[in-house]
């Protein structure tokens, strides 16, 4: 049997048996919905419906209802897109990269982080879709034979690479998540007493029976999917960054964009995982599975990626000066001292200064501080994208066309609406799906469970 150093903190607290793990996760699914959940899903559905209303109004009227103008022709739409895609990155990082590195602590958080990834990518996909204006011709992004020539889509364009990257990322994440869910759905199926629920979970579990050969294949598939999802995570946000980096706009035309965007994505993704899981562990009584050590590990990832982001901000500033290109240095001087300097300093404070507080062990292990800082980081990362997009566009080469961007109520409504849709989907997941990877947690119980570790130490 696998053993673990006695000084390593246990990952599962208290004395748990295999049955306890099943009961702790399946129990809330079988019981009635708690009042808190009902209140939360009602509020989030109302917000979601408002967002859907704003989207429908936009589709019916045109993207003129956004605050865009001929100078700032990308603003909240693409900011929200990049923000949501970035949030999605934590899930795949936790489930794929940490699997390759054999990090056992990921097992308590991977299922919900992957769910978050999938919902975040769906929200991200809304924005490029609706910003086309005529969403009913969105299939034009695919290389389909047509009556224009055939005139094909441009494979030299990073915007088209994005189509392939986001759709591959979404569908592969979904498959990765579902393959892991199948055995856990089988656990629920075999414990459900209500006939309709039993039937539904029976269909969802694909008739999984837990045969030895199937488990061997399951582990191989998980490992290979992790292996190919790892470069996929890095490629997706690199390609998103190339939407900007391959253009000739000062402030966008930067070679450090791919690594800078990827670490920013992981940074914001982990912050969102913290925000959601700190509430979920409390609401679903999972404190023994997701405890302070898990939070601390995630905070360490936040310090590392937050510091990379900080270094990237400073590198950008230095290079814009060192390049000697007037346009390039103006873009950056204008960022921190121009009309949008408030957004720039907001971004700097939230993303560079605040995560450094996690160097202090007390803060890193404090749940309240983590929750507060995770929200700060999410706000900061939204502003990072806003700063990159809007400040680089609003003062272009011709001073006569300089302008500013002012968000309209529809800009705000759609963004808030996507938060509502996201939360509604996540709450539905927390109610009906196994929120912890049961089959994986059971494999580490004896090596990382608190009581088992104590027994071994004696």
């Amino acid at each position: 049997m696998q053993r673990e150093a006695a000084i390593r903190e246990p990952l599962i607290l208290g004395h748990k048996t295999y049955k306890d793990i099943t009961d702790d996760v399946v129990g809330p699914i079988m019981g009635p919905a708690p009042l808190g959940w009902k209140i939360m899903i009602t509020i989030s559905s109302i917000i979601a419906l408002y967002g859907v209303g704003c989207i429908l109004y936009l589709l019916g009227t045109g993207i003129g209802v956004w605050g865009l103008n001929k100078t700032v022709d990308w603003a909240w739409d693409i900011t929200n897109f990049v923000w949501w895609v970035g949030i999605g990155h934590a899930g795949t990082l936790i489930s794929a990269v940490l699997l390759l590195f054999r990090q056992k602590w990921r097992m308590a958080i991977n299922r919900s982080a992957e769910a978050m990834t999938i919902f975040a990518v769906i929200m991200a996909a809304v924005f490029p879709g609706i910003h086309m204006g005529r969403i009913w011709v969105s299939y034009w992004v695919l290389p389909l034979p047509n009556q224009f020539g055939s005139l094909w889509v441009n494979f030299n364009s990073p915007l088209l690479w994005d189509v392939f990257a986001i759709s591959t990322y979404f569908s592969v994440s979904l498959v990765f998540w579902y393959i892991g869910l199948i055995p856990d759905f089988a656990t629920i199926r075999d414990r459900m007493t209500k006939p309709l629920s039993k039937k539904i979970y029976g269909i969802l579990s694909f008739g999984w029976s837990g045969r030895a050969k199937h488990w061997t294949r399951f582990e191989e598939v998980s490992l290979v999917l992790a292996g190919i999802a790892t470069p996929l995570v890095f490629s997706v946000h690199s390609i998103v960054s190339m939407d900007f980096a391959t253009s000739v706009i000062p402030g966008w035309h930067t070679t450090i964009f791919p690594p800078y965007f990827v670490s920013g994505a992981v940074f914001s993704g982990f912050a969102m995982v913290q925000t959601l899981l700190l509430i979920m562990r409390k609401g679903m009584k999972l404190e023994n599975y997701i405890h302070v050590k898990h939070v601390e590990y995630m905070n360490i990832v936040i310090i590392v990626t937050g510091s990379i982001v900080g270094v990237a901000y400073l590198t950008e500033l230095f290079i814009s000066w060192y390049s000697g290109v007037e346009y390039e240095s103006y873009a950056f001087i204008n960022r921190f001292s121009g009309p949008y300097s408030w957004a720039y300093w907001m971004m700097m404070t939230c993303n560079v200064i605040s995560p450094q507080l996690f160097w202090i062990k007390k803060i890193r292990r404090s749940l309240v501080a983590t929750f507060a800082l995770s929200i700060v980081v999410n706000i900061g990362m939204w502003f990072e994208r806003y700063v990159i997009i809007v400040t680089s566009l609003h003062r272009d080469y011709l001073p006569s066309s300089w302008g500013e961007f002012h968000a309209t109520s529809i800009d705000i409504g759609i963004f808030i609406g996507t938060l509502g849709i996201f939360l509604t989907l996540f709450l539905a997941f927390a109610r009906f799906f196994p929120v912890l990877a049961l089959n994986e947690l059971k494999t580490i119980l004896k090596s990382s469970g608190e009581s088992y570790k104590k027994e071994q130490a004696q």
Partner: protein
């Protein structure tokens, strides 16, 4: 008449011990049902290493070829576009711009091809009936399945060998 034995254990260590003992006595174990993968059971009961990773590689290579062939046709052969003076009449000179889509498409084919193969080979598909002998095997119990069909020993001999292991329950069915 052939018989099927379903031996239930309540711990993965006990399953491993029992399976080695039974196999050591020349009894062939047909299958093991468990709530999570038991590491080390495969060589004991004779489960061969899966070749799904090789499948995935072949699917991914198919994806690579299809992506390159497609982009060669769209961008070079059928309608070369002059985009900022980039070379548009030669695949090899234009290939750097095609790397991202080639990579994404390879991953797409590799991942989905493997996942589909996995589900089809397992026979785990939407609506398939569950075949685990006891619902507790997806919770905290483990069942070892032994059939008299692929064993030379008699049912009584097998049963006495099974009873000697640290088992929880035994059910014997006529096949």
């Amino acid at each position: 008449m052939s018989k099927i034995f379903h031996v239930m254990y309540d711990d993965d260590a006990k399953v491993l011990a029992a399976a080695s003992t039974l196999v050591g006595q020349g009894i062939r174990v047909k299958d093991v049902f468990s709530p999570f993968p038991i590491h080390g059971i495969d060589p004991i009961i004779g489960v061969k290493r899966t070749r799904l990773a090789i499948c995935s590689f072949m699917y991914a290579m198919t994806g690579t070829s299809l992506a390159l062939l497609g982009m060669w046709y769209f961008m070079i052969n059928d309608w070369p576009m002059n985009i900022g003076g980039k070379p548009s009449f030669s695949l090899i000179e234009n290939i750097t711009a095609f790397i991202p889509v080639t990579f994404e498409f390879s991953v797409l084919c590799g991942a989905h091809g493997m996942a589909l193969t996995y589900l089809l080979r397992n026979g785990t598909l939407p609506g398939m009936p569950a075949t685990n002998p006891d619902p507790r095997t997806t919770d905290d119990k483990f069942v070892v399945e032994i059939s008299t069909d692929n064993n030379s020993m008699s049912a009584d001999e097998i049963e006495s060998a099974i009873r000697a292991t640290d088992l929880l329950e035994l059910s014997i069915k006529d096949a």
